[in-house]
């Protein structure tokens, strides 16, 4: 009996040590496969003039080199995560759409591609709608927007950096700052980006949707 108990005890011990492992698996860095990126790149390379591309940032050297080499494009880096972080800290999220519009002062139909990463996850519906419509106006016919959208709300989530590894994979790295993530349903995304069509939508292993929107 005693030996059974001891054995039972020893059996339980590894179980308890195994419990803390999952949090460690969360990981700060992860590589995700991207099916939208090659389609996004081909959409840009099909544009008639040298492409102009907006990256919501933060600036990542390898992305700049990759996109520059690959597309020979004009790249606008707008560190909107920084703007987002500032507004979250000061509690002025209502003013964020205005700030974004002020930052992205490109003419209508003047941009071929927009990499907004997971920016919209941190916006509530009304703000997301305003920013999305601004992007739709800036986009040139044939242009594309690529973004990541969470599938469930998260009370507090870190900002992420999306580093392009190659045509089909992306490295996710934690960035400074955090905020609440809002899951926008597909229907809502379609309404937000009225004027664009969802060209591709992929559910990734990290439980986010990679969505490519095109303007006809």
């Amino acid at each position: 009996m005693l030996s059974d108990l001891l054995r039972w005890g020893t059996k339980r011990a590894p179980e308890t040590t195994a419990v803390p492992k999952p949090p460690a698996v969360k990981g700060i860095e992860a590589i995700i496969s991207s099916k939208g990126l090659p389609k996004f790149l081909s959409a840009l390379s099909n544009q008639p003039s040298p492409a102009s591309l907006i990256d919501f940032g933060p600036v990542i050297g390898t992305n700049v080199a990759y996109l520059g080499e690959r597309l020979g494009c004009k790249l606008f880096i707008e560190d909107l995560t920084n703007e987002l972080s500032r507004h979250l800290k000061s509690g002025t999220m209502d003013a964020l759409p205005d700030a974004v519009e002020l930052r992205l002062r490109h003419g209508d139909a003047s941009v071929d591609g927009i990499l907004c990463w997971d920016f919209f996850d941190f916006l509530k519906k009304p703000a997301a709608q305003r920013v999305a419509q601004h992007l739709v106006n800036m986009l040139r016919p044939g242009g594309a927007i690529m973004g990541y959208f969470a599938i469930s709300d998260v009370e507090r989530s870190n900002f992420m950096k999306y580093e392009i590894v190659d045509d089909q994979s992306m490295r996710l790295r934690q960035h400074t700052g955090s905020g609440a993530r809002h899951a926008h349903p597909n229907r809502e995304i379609i309404r937000m980006f009225e004027g664009l069509t969802v060209a591709e939508s992929f559910l990734l292993k990290n439980n986010s949707r990679e969505i490519l929107l095109r303007k006809k």
């Binding site: 390379s45 544009q47 008639p48 003039s49 040298p50 102009s52 600036v59 990542i60 050297g61 700049v64 080199a65 520059g68 080499e69 020979g72 494009c73 004009k74 790249l75 606008f76 880096i77 707008e78 560190d79 002020l102 930052r103 992205l104 002062r105 490109h106 003419g107 139909a109 003047s110 941009v111 071929d112 040139r140």
Partner: protein, 185 residues
């Protein structure tokens, strides 16, 4: 046996003998080299380089045909079309820059045009537009603006062919591009 020892000896002392002479000769050289690389090599300079020291403030236009390192403050315009410009960690530049290559470890506010490369190193900061065929941005660097990596001659095979068709549309992104870059910043 003797022969073996003799044969062995010169080989053995030769190495330690040679080593000290090397170290003796190389140590001053390496000292000199150690100072040189920190001042020059680490900043990517080769050959002659001119420095604008920490306490120097220049307002106006800078032209030259030598590599230049700026540790002080410059406001205006810098043109080193055939040379390398390095903005050191203490350098503060508010200017339009034209150079062959630009290495930035300090702060730059203004547009940077390089015919070869722009390299923003860790802690380097640029607020402005960059036009260069190659751009490298290190992990801790700050950048805000646009990057134009189109080759000067627009060589990439496919695009120039399509360019004439879209030639009327290509200036379109440039006009808004210039506007937000300057205006938003």
């Amino acid at each position: 046996m003797w022969k073996r020892d003799d044969a062995a000896k010169p080989a053995v002392p030769a190495a330690p003998g040679a080593a000290p002479t090397h170290t003796a000769t190389t140590s001053p050289a390496s000292d000199a080299a150690a100072t040189r690389p920190t001042a020059g090599d680490a900043r990517g300079l080769e050959g002659n380089a001119v420095n604008i020291g920490k306490s120097v403030v220049v307002k106006g236009e800078l032209n030259g045909s030598e590599d230049l390192t700026i540790e002080g403050q410059v406001e205006g315009k810098i043109e080193l079309r055939q040379n390398v410009l390095t903005i050191g960690p203490n350098g503060r530049v508010k200017a339009q820059i034209f150079a062959k290559a630009v290495i930035i470890l300090g702060e730059v506010t203004g547009n940077v045009t390089a015919t070869e490369k722009v390299d923003i190193r860790d802690n380097g900061s640029v607020d402005g537009d960059i036009a260069s065929p190659r751009v490298a941005i290190a992990e801790g660097a700050h950048f805000r603006g646009s990057i134009d990596m189109q080759k000067a001659g627009a060589k990439p095979g496919e695009k120039p062919e399509t360019k004439p068709a879209g030639a009327s549309t290509s200036p379109a992104p440039q006009s808004p591009a210039g506007a937000p870059a300057g205006a938003a910043r």
